[in-house]
Amino acid sequence: MKFDFSDDQKLLQQTVRDFLAGECAPDAVRALWSTETGRSRALWKQLAEVGLVGLLVPDSHEGMGLSEVDFVLLCEEVGRAALAEPVIATAAVGAPLVAELGGDLAARWLKPLAVGEAIVAVGHPVSPFVDDAHVADLLLLERDGELHAVAPGSARLTAQPHTDPARRIAAVEFDPRSETCVASGAQARHLLDSALDRGALAAAAQLIGVCDRLVALAVAYTTQRVQFGVPIGSFQAVKHALADVKVKLEYARPLVYRAADSVARGIAQRSVHVSMAKVAAAEAAQRGARAALQAHGAIGYTWEQDVHIWMRRAWSLDQMWGIQRFHRARMAAFALAPDAPLGAGRTFI
């Protein structure tokens, strides 16, 4: 029993944090907001070099062959930096899905995906829209329980502008044909379930990073902003609001880390663990967004102040890979079952 990350895992986290602090500062995030795609192939390639992109890809295909436990801390950093590249679409979900599909598809795509030369987007029934489809080289799309591999050119994308300028989604139409079908029946169901677990886990981990950053921004601002002759951060109302967010955050964190382990080990309850993580992380981040905005006052209400970068990330990640209602329903189905293993001593059994 050791519920902690290894030194290597923490070191990789620090490396990614440092890299993103340099390459994905708020100005860079804003610069990408105003581009047509909102994405940067150059940045994506760099991210691949740091190891973020191919982490879950087997090393036989130029990936790192690591697990979700290794990946989860990096996702946290992605959230902390408000990085908007297709980390979830490709690194967390798409590439592992291609690996699981195997065969020609994996042979054709896995290596370019792992090294950041190709992007895959995944259309999953949990959401009406597809993230990052507009920059994808390969679309994996569900239709009537089947999974189809579709070239972007043969799908019709309608971009859906979103309140988070970093989120780029589209409604995607395509004509499923037998040649495009890459999985069906039980296999497709299994693959879609895995995709959902990985996607929601990655979103949850990003939300942890987002919430942490929101608290940090609010603490920094209220420590330097003086009113009535004192820093406003010395007022109990400001302190307690942020303390409450911190409590939520620190008790969402273990759920996220546990979910990562459950997905990595493929244990039976992994989907429930992911849902618990996603809900707790989303709630913490929503609370963090409200508290950070309020702590900033009028300046936080401006476009030019940075706090809304993470506020919008909190909103959009909350809806990625399953809204809270979806995940709460999965939790309820588990916990309210007659034979649910609840109570003391059942946590790890």
Binding site: F129, P161, A171, Q227, Q294, G297, A298, Y301
Partner: protein, 385 residues
């Protein structure tokens, strides 16, 4: 207790309703935080004025209807129920106008009120400065007397409507040896003057709902002073006082939001989370409570009572209710709730997102809710400072 309207009040309501039905634009105007929308709203204000509905609570002698607060509530109810445009001229008509009537000289009334009524001059608020937000008395912008002028230097910020307005009102320190509430003077400043730089500030919706105003040796004649020199705080308190606040936050707005929320829930009741129904109904009940409390307050005001710190209860209640209603709507809308109005999948849901962004400002502007809670605790409950 008599919770019914007089025949005269019913008749007034019917008259307002008929006029609005005939005049409210069929399509929403563009946001008044765009140049185009600002001018469209100015035209609407002029149409209201021609109909005799621009300055409903102003005395007849200034071109208003001399409506009392009850009639004002009725007007607002009809105005919101009709889905009429937002009031771009509200800083003038509801805040500055009555203050000029109270503190202005005859010349000032003649100079400012008709152009305000005609929306030829639209006003920006200039309450805040970079170091005077919650701490509103910490004003540092100065106005130095130089023969017949004040020479103004400093910076105002969060000036709502500031991006496109014609004039700004605010307080300036005329006595450099004073601190806080003393030594402030209320001055009216044309934004077209040399030395004035307006920097529009984009809000969370990406539009410049407020502005920073830099004042660099700006000369305004002493005649632009409202009230006496050094009397600025008193004039400002009248401007920001309870009755004015009531005019700006009449219950009708929240009742209409509650109505739309219930309708939204009903439209999605098959798919919506069942707990949402309770929340939506509770919001409706709270909006009714807000309306009832407003009528009760107006009854007490008309009966001669004074209302002071109660405005802080009011502020917290409506701002939290407004936020809760919009949050609930976005929950009902699920993935569509975060789409911008122009998204093809957004359909007609986009206004809830805009409303949510606006609602987020509620607990911040006009005195943060933290400041309001202090006031409630100290001035209403009598707790120690």
């Amino acid at each position: 207790m008599d919770l019914s309207y007089t025949p005269q009040q019913d008749a007034f309501r019917a008259e307002v309703r008929a006029w609005l039905r005939a005049h409210v634009p069929a399509h929403p105007l563009p946001s008044f935080d765009t140049r185009e929308g600002f001018e469209a709203h100015r035209r609407w204000e002029r149409e209201l004025n021609q109909g005799g509905y621009a300055m409903v609570p102003w005395p007849v002698e200034y071109g208003g209807r001399g409506a009392d607060l009850l009639e004002w509530l009725i007007f607002e109810e009809e105005y919101y129920a009709a889905g009429a445009p937002k009031r771009v001229n509200q800083n003038g008509i509801f805040l500055l106008g009555p203050t000029i009537m109270e503190y202005g000289t005859r010349e000032q009334k003649t100079r400012f009120l008709p152009r305000m009524a005609a929306s030829d001059e639209i006003w920006a608020q200039g309450w805040s400065e970079p170091n005077a937000g919650s701490d509103m008395a910490n004003i540092q912008a100065t106005a130095v007397r130089d023969s017949g002028d004040y020479v103004i230097n400093g910076q105002k910020t969060w000036a709502s409507r500031g991006a496109f307005a014609d004039w700004l009102f605010g307080m300036f320190r005329t006595d450099p040896n004073t601190e806080r509430h003393r030594g402030l003077t209320f001055i009216l400043v044309p934004l077209s003057l040399p030395g004035v730089t307006v920097r529009p500030i984009d809000q969370l919706d990406g539009l410049p709902g407020f502005a920073e105003v830099f004042l660099d040796d700006v000369r305004v004649p002493v005649e632009n002073r409202l009230g006496g020199e050094g009397q600025g705080w008193q004039v400002a308190m009248a401007t920001a006082g309870f009755e004015r606040g009531l005019m700006l936050r009449s219950p009708a707005r929240f009742q209409e939001t509650a109505r739309r929320l219930i309708a939204l829930y009903r439209a999605h009741r098959e798919s919506a989370d069942s707990a949402i129904a309770d929340i939506a109904v509770d919001c409706w009940s709270q909006a009714e409570a807000y309306a009832l409390e407003t009528y009760r307050t107006v009854s007490r005001l008309l009966g001669g009572a004074k209302i002071g710190s109660e405005a802080s209860l009011n502020k917290i209640f409506w701002s939290e209710l407004d936020l809760r209603m919009h949050e609930t709507a976005l929950r009902i809308l699920e993935e569509r709730g975060q789409l911008l109005p122009e998204a093809s999948a957004a359909g007609d849901v986009g206004t809830w997102l805009d409303g949510y962004l606006f609602a987020l400002s509620g607990p911040i502007y006009a005195g943060t809710n933290e400041i309001q809670r202090n006031i409630i605790a100290e001035r209403i409950l009598g707790m120690p400072r």
